[in-house]
Symmetry: C2
Subunit: 437 residues, 2 copies
């Protein structure tokens, strides 16, 4: 006998058996409902892009260490998408003239990164991407994107104590680095990436990384001070940190006005890993003591389409991964118990006249909108009841010779065991009453 | 200015802009409704599988010339899935003991093959896969799978003249090749693959391919005769072609009994490209004179799980690609005109009090289930009406100072231009009447 292949799924990815898939479909449907209630339209694109699409703006860590790239049979270097934003930039650039602005797009693509699989981190995950592109008023778009992130959380049953949206502004950080720490612009990206790690690494590691960037003690102090400031600092240091300060203050004020002051909180250490952010940045954090981590985030990135077009495209958006989000829902007891959808099982004795009858009956019921599974052959009736039971199908239909003679059918309710016989022509109405549909 | 990257999507794949995506989502939702009405449950899995999963059973043409394979960063040879069936076999094998049989699974994965893009053929396509696994009665499973294929066609509005389901049986062909042509078993797969091409290549090419297999004139004649036989042949040659003949006759009889004799037709040249079929095979053909081609097909493959498990798993299923199917729907005028979903556009003048008002109003309406898009800032009102018009949003709301003072709001119907003012507290009921929802 030949050696058998492993039935394990490829490392870091997942098999979605029906119960897993029901959950995924439930989650994606709810996400779509919320996004569409804001007027966002769903898009998708190719799984594969030329590698150049990612070289411009995706972080070096991803491109050098994590991207799934290869040479195709036509000798083109290509990659499986590690993120969706460059594709969105490509698509919007390709139709910039025709599209009615602002463009509100969302997508839920699967993304691939070669990571060491761990809690909340897999190689394949699905990610909601929501973007407002080419808005007339960036402020209103920023407001809407953050409101959307909050509504998304609420729509899954999270309450205002379950999460916080920490918010900052790249412009403020850049001004602090340039005008207070007096660092040259070519160091800002590196320092920003280090700050982005502050919640994930120890204080010592953090300090070492900063020292490697040759920050002196005074600069270190200034930076640590800044990272622990609140909105007062921004108000008082206004002239050193420029117009991004007043922008953020106005945004925080408006968050209060539209009822989000309980969840939206200023936090200067919010940076976001990607280099392409240019303005407001935010991260949604779980507040549960076992899971104080970032669930997802986003912000404003106004230059991303620049790789594809000379026209300017302003943009704000966020990306939310399914793995991290599912863990959040699980921890907060917000996952539903989703049952198999089948309502009716038609049992049978396996002779040919009956095969004809049960196939025809199934067709008739399906046309009326019922979800009907057929017995798959001549097992003992007891075994068929066991099958219906194992599949948690609530109703079993059975037409023995006695019923057949008088054009009737037996209905058995699996939970109570209750049985009744109804005339065939009354079957649909009897089923609607039983199934409450 | 740096050279810009192309906005073209990777060759042979597609961008799905909102209008394309609406169509795709509509199609997939309808497919899901039909599949679920038969009790099929949706599954999915990893996009990437170890290459071994495909080496066993996928056709050599695909593995050698069309598969997207590469070495991952962990030095494993992997492939982007070119078909879903091996993954289904892997998944069912992995949980064979726990699963309640029969297993009815469907999936709509994206699949990748390095093909020369052309009509109905792309490198990335989505494919419905439907399978009944481990049925107690293979005959009933075959019947159900073919009934499902027919119901799927009907559910999209196709009528019985728009398509035919051509059906045959691998066992009959194997018996003809072995017992009538007296060919050794190791030639059967090659000859079958040639027969599978009969509709796609010229008669001369077809004959040349057969001659390359060293068929003599008498064998050629016998084969051509067989390929033009009807059910009578099977009835009369019964002993030479064995039990698969009576199986097919019984299946055709039952198709008649369940009302499918208009669409299900015996055709001996139906083979299917993959080597793994073991019994009934079928293809759904478009009957339109501009598109007489196979739309999709399937059949019985009882050995596929053999690569993963020693337990036997019988299986019947089919795969239907979205590209070919969309062309069918287009040609038969079965594609709907799907509009953008947004119902309400809230216009604004852009001052801060108003921003607060329109964000709050939008929230209130969304909570009531309305789909609401906000103006994105301080453009002239005329421009905002133009935006709503371009987006085909039927209703615009506007609250000027006059309305604000008396807690009222203006409703403008974009199609008729009709305007009215209603008290804010009556807004939802007015909108429900207007939008008929």
């Amino acid at each position: 006998m030949a050696a058998k292949l492993s039935t394990q799924v490829y490392k870091g990815s997942r098999d979605f058996y029906p119960e897993d898939m029901r959950l995924r479909e439930w989650m994606f449907a709810r996400i779509s409902t919320v996004l569409e209630s804001f007027g966002f339209e769903k898009i998708d694109s190719s799984l594969i892009e030329p590698i150049e699409v990612y070289l411009a703006k995706t972080s070096e860590e991803i491109v050098n260490q994590q991207i799934y790239s290869f040479i195709d049979r036509g000798d083109r270097k290509v990659a499986i998408r590690p993120e969706m934003t460059p594709t969105v930039a490509r698509m919007v650039s390709g139709r910039l003239r025709e599209l009615t602005k602002p463009v509100r797009w969302y997508s839920i693509p699967n993304l691939w990164r070669y990571e060491r699989p761990g809690k909340g981190r897999l190689r394949e995950h699905w990610q909601l991407n929501a973007d407002i592109l080419s808005a007339r008023d960036e402020f209103m778009a920023d407001l809407e994107i953050i409101q959307l992130a909050a509504e998304l959380m609420f729509s899954f049953g999270a309450n205002k104590n379950d999460f916080k949206i920490y918010i900052s502004h790249r412009g403020i950080l850049n001004n602090v680095l340039g005008n207070i720490l007096k660092l040259p612009e070519n160091q800002w990206a590196n320092i920003s990436r280090i700050i982005d790690k502050i919640e994930k690494i120890s204080k010592d590691e953090f300090n070492t990384l900063l020292k490697n960037e040759l920050l002196d003690d005074s600069q270190m102090n200034s930076l640590m001070n800044y990272l622990h400031t609140d909105l007062d600092f921004i108000q008082t240091q206004h002239e050193k940190i420029g117009e991004s300060a007043s922008y953020l203050l106005k945004l925080m004020q408006m968050m209060k006005e539209i009822g989000l002051s309980d969840v939206v909180v200023y936090r200067p250490s919010i940076v976001r890993g990607f280099d392409y952010y240019t303005g407001v940045v935010f991260e949604v954090f779980d507040t549960h003591e076992e899971n104080r981590r970032s669930l997802f985030g986003g912000g404003r990135y106004n230059n991303l389409a620049g790789a594809f077009t000379n026209e300017s495209v302003n943009a704000a958006g966020f990306g939310m991964g399914d793995v991290t989000f599912t863990e959040f829902l699980k921890l907060h007891n917000l996952l539903p118990d989703l049952k198999r959808k089948t309502q009716i099982y038609i049992a049978g004795f396996g002779n040919e006249i009956e095969i004809k009858n049960i196939f025809s009956l199934a067709s008739r019921l399906r046309k009326q909108g019922f979800i009907v599974e057929l017995s798959s052959g001549d097992a003992k009736i007891k075994k068929q009841f066991e099958e219906a039971n194992a599949k948690r199908i609530p109703v079993v239909l059975l037409q023995g010779e006695d019923e057949l003679k008088v054009n009737a059918i037996q209905i058995k309710l699996m939970e109570s065991g209750e049985q009744s016989t109804v005339p065939l022509q009354d079957l649909e109405s009897a089923l609607r009453t039983i199934l409450n549909c």
